[in-house]
Point group: C2
Chain length 443, copies 2
């Protein structure tokens, strides 16, 4: 009556070969599976460009009835060196089988897509346009970037955490929150795991999280998403924010090293270069950065922070000095949230003006906000008062600071923004599989 | 004006030692940092049990003014072998420094916590109770489990994806969805990445995602969470669901191997055993499973599926045969969603009764639901009609199946449920750092 344990049935077929491995099979018969990326029927002879996860290969046969583009197919055939074919090899088709036929032609021709022609249409048809070689290359790079992030942090003794995305209040204040109906109660989508990663410093000392975060920003720009993948780090028992920047420096170097090992082909396809990470990324204080941009480039910087043009110019300056990265340090309190740790005055007392917050700029744009956080309960309560915030509404935040939180700090990297800047992608939406923006809720 | 690149200032202090490494420093002076896990003042002599990320160590000194429990502290002292001390070593304190003093005693004594005494209080004070050794051990095991999941899948050529958690409709139908106000439009929290992982099979062939999912289930049980971490897998170009089960079999073996290498201490602390994964996990059809439970144990199974008692009994049967795991296969259509692939009749035609869906049971409970999915557009539209669902409302789902989707299947594992079962934790809420349930939205 019950199934007994049985060895798996052997499937006596030629094993599948991936297109990237064809060079090892020159002159041999192989079995390929993939999608009809492109097709051409010259009457007597048919060409099929087969796309699998590893690349594309031209297959040639005769007497074939070609299915629509994007159909999934199986080819059994002989590998022949062919200098003009993509990848340097072609497969001469002996057997051709349609695994699953497309029932309509794709709404856009996958091999010929260009984002700039009609970006909204590209996103409307994302369920199939995401199959494009460049589109998937961006997502592959992001997957490797995230893997590099995790692997390096685990090697430095960090523990991965998973924290709530349904919260009762925003960590950064009340603005830009998406409301949720939580069994009839008001709740929100988390803008950041900020408090939770701080709490977890009390548990594991060093923690990270890779998870979506939510910003209900009304404006649609090329650098913002309403849902994005946040790479969050928090580290305890630090001296000051320098420990955090040194960690991020090592982390970025490890990520780029991994990309060089696993995603060079994707960078080449997209015409992009994997940056060198300096052993010591240059630092400049915000005040000095503003002065530099004004003096060197004549750009008067508005506001308390750097504006986008100032970020671009500052990066241009450091690129000339050989670094694609620069830390902007010592942010003023006015540009940072209440939990930013004050810098020390010369006499050791806490500054009322300057924090230990920093940004990291890369190729013209901020990719990280980070810093040391206040860990002392009394200092935190003073800061809440100085920011004219309500201690009652922040009681859920301040609770853990009663219990001996050590000095700590951290940062967050937006995965899509970093991916886009690495690859020279003009709009951050194209670095997410299924972006959500002000107007887009599908697919 | 600009900061020049400077070498980091050397910090000429004794480097920090973790408590787990004390045996390498017997007789030497070390610097420890951590939290005051427990404390005792006998007048002339003071004992501090210091807890760091790696364990606990007893430190002994005299003339110390001990801070409150959970304060973070630094100890410089000499390591002495001490058979009765936890870990076999004790540190004789030469210097004692309070890094950050707790300002209140913790609401519960961290070393003495017991979940069964008052579980709601434990969750109310989770910001500090999560520091408990057993509490953090569970989360550490989960982190290693998730790392093992990712690493094995990447080694088998899977690509990690990140898909939207804000969706316009539910993948599994309209029930149990949390509504979101998305810029004035109705949206929902995703119950599963089901459609998105299927779409991405058209891109990367083999994909996985580790991300939260949401179920607005009104009932609170020991096995359900309203927000949980879903370990999702989808695999293209399969023959049938057997390929998917074989993958999950290999994956579980790899995860357990990793846990043996990285988390044995946590299992020991919690009195739990890392299971052996059979080279071929036994399979039994649902019909045979129902019959077995009735015939062997006299349990009449209600409904179309297995009830919780039947799951428990079936696992008991297979445990007697040496397996903590069993696949229950060939689920009836009535117990599966519309996208479940029908099994084949003896003549090769699709069954109208039986699907290629399976569950995986482990130590008495279902930890996976999976199966082959319908990839053929016409078959999918027929299934939608047979389930009396609206093709219009599912148009967002069916779109991608016009474009040659290959045969594919996958599964999902609830990280907290698997963690809880591995560790013998009675309630799945205790296997999540900050659980969300019917009544709990904080901390």
């Amino acid at each position: 009556m019950t199934s007994e344990v049985q060895p798996e049935t052997p499937r006596a077929r030629l094993p599948r070969t991936l297109t990237r491995d064809l060079s090892a099979h020159d002159g041999q018969q192989v079995r390929l599976q993939g999608f009809v990326h492109a097709r051409r029927d010259l009457g007597g002879v048919q060409f099929v460009v087969l796309r699998d996860v590893s690349g594309v290969t031209q297959c040639v046969g005769s007497g074939l009835h070609l299915p629509l583009a994007e159909s999934s197919v199986e080819v059994v055939g002989t590998v022949k060196a062919h200098p003009k074919a993509p990848g340097g090899f072609e497969v001469q088709i002996a057997e051709f089988r349609v695994i699953s036929a497309a029932v309509e032609p794709p709404p856009v021709e996958i091999p010929k897509m260009e984002w700039h022609v009609n970006p909204e249409t590209m996103l409307d048809y994302r369920v199939v346009t995401v199959r494009g070689l460049k589109e998937r290359a961006a997502l592959k790079v992001q997957a490797e970037l995230v893997a590099g992030f995790r692997d390096h942090l685990m090697a430095e003794g960090f523990t991965e955490i998973s924290t709530p995305k349904i919260v009762s209040a925003g960590a950064e204040g009340g603005a830009n929150l998406f409301p949720i109906d939580y069994f009839g109660r008001a709740a929100f989508l988390a803008q950041s795991p900020q408090l939770y990663k701080q709490i977890m410093v009390g548990v594991f000392e060093r923690v990270f999280e890779v998870a979506p975060v939510y910003r209900a920003e009304e404006h649609a720009t090329s650098r913002h998403l309403n849902e994005y993948l946040s790479l969050d780090v928090e580290m305890g028992f630090i001296e000051d924010e320098e420990d955090v920047m040194a960690l991020e420096n090592r982390l970025l170097a490890a990520i780029m090293e991994r990309l060089r090992a696993t995603a060079q082909a994707e960078f080449t396809l997209l015409g992009a270069t994997i940056p060198e990470v300096p052993a010591h990324i240059p630092r400049i204080t915000l005040l000095d950065a503003r002065a530099l941009v004004t003096e060197k480039y004549g750009h008067a910087v508005g506001g308390k922070d750097l504006d986008p043009e100032a970020e671009r110019l500052l990066c241009q300056h450091y690129a000339e000095q050989g670094s694609d990265f620069v830390f902007v340090t010592k942010y003023p309190r006015a540009a940072r949230p209440f939990y930013a740790h004050p810098d020390a005055n010369a006499d050791g007392t806490p500054s009322t003006e300057i924090t230990r917050g920093f940004d990291l700029l890369f190729r013209g744009i901020e990719i990280t906000s980070g810093g040391q956080r206040i860990h002392d309960h009394a200092m935190l309560m003073d800061s809440i008062a100085a920011y004219r915030l309500s201690p009652e509404s922040l009681a859920g935040y301040t609770e853990v600071f009663k219990y001996g939180m050590p000095p700590h700090g951290g940062f967050a990297i937006g995965a899509e923004r970093l991916t886009a800047k690495l690859l020279g992608i003009s709009n951050v939406r194209y670095a997410r599989a299924f972006p959500r923006d002000r107007h887009r809720l599908t697919p």
